[in-house]
Structure formats: C-alpha cells, structure tokens
Point group: C2
Chain length 145, copies 2
Amino acid sequence: MSANSRMTVAVHVLTWMALVHDRGRDVVTSDQIATSVATNPVVIRRSLADLREAGLVTVRHGAGAGWTLARAAESITMLDVFRAVHDEPLFALHRGEPNQACPIGRGIRPALRDVYADAEEAVRRELARVTIADVLRETLATRSG
Amino acid sequence: MSANSRMTVAVHVLTWMALVHDRGRDVVTSDQIATSVATNPVVIRRSLADLREAGLVTVRHGAGAGWTLARAAESITMLDVFRAVHDEPLFALHRGEPNQACPIGRGIRPALRDVYADAEEAVRRELARVTIADVLRETLATRSG
DNA sequence: CTCCGCTGCAACTGTTATTGTTACAGCGAG
DNA sequence: CTCGCTGTAACAATAACAGTTGCAGCGGAG
C-alpha cells in the first residue's frame, strides 16, 4: 500500500536541518541536504516546497540563498510533516464506481470512508506525539543504520 | 501514499459474501462478486486468493464450484483483512540507502522504523474494532453511495 | 466416465505515480 | 553585474496495479 517515500524524505530533510541548526549553521542549500539523503537536489527542493507551503521552512533567494527551519525542531511534529506531504488518503476506495444496482455497491463506500477516517485519525494521533527533535535524538542515538 | 485498493476490494468481497450468506446462499462465484464490485472476475479471484491464504474464505473446485466464508462475519475484523492483503508497510523508508557517512543518513532509518511501527500499530488497533458484520450493517444503512 | 462450469495462474497491456535527471529562467546580496 | 542557488517544466526510467485474455485442471452432475 505504501507507495512513496515523500514522508521519509521530508522528515530526513527536517532532521538534517535541525542537526545543522544545532551546530550553528542556519541557512542550508538543497545540494547539501541531497548529499545526506543521497539523491538529486531537485527531489529535495520538491520536498522543501511542500514544507514551505506548510510553513515549516522558509527560503531565501539570491546570492547566499538557502533554507531555514521556520520553527524550533521541538515544535514540529511528524503530524505536521504528514499534513505537509499528504494529499492522498492512507486507504484508497474503489478505483471505479461499484455497481449501484447492488446494495453493497451502493452503500459500501460511505461505510468504508468512516472506518478509514477513524484509522487515519489514529495515525495522526500517534504522529502528533513525535517531534523532529525526538527523531533527531533517536537518530543520533543509533550506532548503525 | 495510498496506492492500491486491494483492502477496499477485499472488504467489499467479504461484505457481499456476508449479505448473500444472510440471504441463505453460501457458495458464490467470483463472477457474481465481480458484478457487485464492477470489475473483472480475475481481480476478485486474486483478492479471494489472499483471503483464502489468511483462512477467511474457503474454495470448492469442480462442478458447483465457488467460495464460502470460513467464519462468521461477526468474527472477521478489518484487521484480519488488513493482514491478509498487506505485504508492504504503510510508510515506506528511503528507496535508496541514505549517505552512511552522515550521522543522519546513518541513524534515521531505525528511528523512523520505530515511529512508523507505532503508527501502524495504532491503525491495527483501530481496524481490529470493526468487523465485516459492522461494515455490512453500515453499508445497508446508507441510502446512497 | 464424460461434460461443463468454475478456479488457478501465467502473461500481457494500459495507466498512473514516483523518482531521478537535465535544462534553464529568475532572484538578489555582495 | 555577477554568481550561486531557487523554481519549475520537461522528460526518462521504474514500478505497481488494474484489467484482460487464454488455457489447463478440478470434480460433482448427469
């Protein structure tokens, strides 16, 4: 079911920015982040664009351009990131419309929407409990990955 | 993120079987189910194969072949279905390996694995609370879909 | 013991999402 | 003005799915 790693990349980006911030540097480039994630800078910029729209990072143009965390890492939760990168629901309904002549085909989508909404809400509650600062701490506590 | 509708199709299949069972018919064919879902019988058989492996349905071959619910709809939870159709985790980690020379790249995957595992566990708990019988009831309670 | 309807499964196509990549215009501090 | 970086479009490669066709195999009904 899980398809993309946008969530993972976005968290990686923010965690890296939080580490660099702790080390005294505040403005970083997509190129530098791309080195840590081991991917293309454009991929990082796409991720950063999502995070900027969500108000989690700010960008500066021109010479000396780059990105900065808009908030303290302690105040950015995984839920914030989830909201920033997620357009699609976690569970997809039917691709095509079920048979409306059948009582199941007619009524199952609203029924499933409710169940799926509850499940997603549970995920959101769980993600809200973890901040980027938490992830950074856990990340640095790990010896090998 | 959500990619496939396997979960939705599987629940639809079971709910339809539960309804038909309530109406006195116990053995049904993939063709009949496909009519309700409005898709190809092979798609349904692929779904039923997952459900059979999980022990939720049984199959009979030869003349008068078809499928039967292996358990009462009241005892089949959405979690059972989730387990039957899900191989991939809900949240994917990096596609490629992050830069191991970077402390974030080295430690973030185990850290994220933990967070994601907690989130998935929350989903499982929520799905475990709903049975196919519940879904059937809600489905029939809906006027339009 | 043959027939026939259904399952099991492999193979192929069309579609779509995502990632990675190249290319280039635009911005603005120095 | 210059230069480094952003913003974004465009494109290729990959992968997952849904849908479809075709056919072998099973086994009760007759």
